[in-house]
């Protein structure tokens, strides 16, 4: 039984690693958050499996904490980070491999919306649109 538990735990760790492909592929931030969600649940499963070995009962508390707090990051994502537009493909600014930014790349697209549903309270204005000036058309 102990060997089976360890084997299942190993299997779950491997599924987590395979799931990382989706983080790499994206394409949207929400897709990547999904992987984080699945990884959280898989982590809980691995921890309860490991906790069944003698002397490791404390790991069940870790699983408890993980399951309790798994949604905090998602909430922060939904409230703060989700409404910005996705950065264009290619290296982001500031990365060693980043090319020089094109001078006319300043199109501020506001994609946040106030839906008629409960999301009406989401006061998250467009992320990244915080430069207060309206962008000028390219010369």
């Amino acid at each position: 039984m102990a060997e089976l538990r360890a084997a299942v735990a190993l299997f779950l760790v491997l599924t987590v690693l395979v799931g990382m492909i989706r983080v790499a592929r994206g394409p949207s931030f929400a897709d990547r958050m999904l992987v984080a969600l699945l990884m959280g649940t898989t982590g809980v499963a691995v921890l309860v499996l490991l906790a069944a070995s003698p002397g490791a009962g404390a790991l069940r508390d870790v699983a408890l904490v993980l399951s309790l707090l798994a949604s905090v990051t998602v909430v922060a994502f939904a409230r703060l980070a989700a409404s910005g537009r996705e950065p264009a493909a290619g290296p982001a600014p500031g990365h060693p491999d980043a090319p020089a930014p094109a001078p006319a790349a300043a199109t501020v697209t506001v994609t946040a919306t106030v839906t008629a549903t409960a999301a009406a309270t989401d006061a998250t204005a467009a992320a990244g649109a915080d430069a207060a000036a309206a962008p000028e058309p390219p010369p």
Binding site: P87, A100, P101, A106, G128, D130, A131, A133, P135, E136
Partner: protein, 130 residues
């Protein structure tokens, strides 16, 4: 190779990757992230060293050190991110003033040093007519 050596090596590599990121990145937030990566790698090294103990349970002193380290690490991270945020705010206003008064039509100079992000207007994107 025993399990602790495996994890110590892994933590060492992890730490090295973080250090590389700290030196190689020019963006503040990426630097902060890299320092955190390096710190976690060190924690793994410490926890692996705790397993060297010949007693059945690992050595509790490194564990206590890592606990302290994690909490100090998150507070340092939060402070550093606040400073970076403030920097971003100050920078945004400074850049707008500059646009409006001094350099109405200059091309974005030093582009690799001032990669302005695609959401913000570039350093001199035309500005108001003088």
């Amino acid at each position: 190779m025993s399990a602790w050596q495996l994890y110590a090596l892994s933590g060492l590599a992890w730490f090295g990757v973080g250090m590389w990121g700290l030196f190689a990145h020019a963006h503040w937030v990426r630097k902060i992230l890299a320092v955190n990566v390096a710190g976690s790698g060190l924690f793994l090294v410490l926890a692996a060293l705790a397993r060297r103990a010949t007693t059945p349970a690992p050595d509790p002193v490194p564990h206590a050190l890592v606990l302290t380290g994690i909490v100090v690490g998150i507070s340092a991270t939060a402070l550093a991110l606040s400073v970076a945020r403030r920097l971003a705010e100050v920078e945004a206003t400074a850049r707008l003033d500059e646009d409006a008064t001094h350099e109405p039509a200059a091309p974005p100079a030093g582009a690799d040093a001032r990669a302005g992000g695609d959401a913000a207007p570039p350093p001199a994107g035309g500005g108001a007519p003088p």
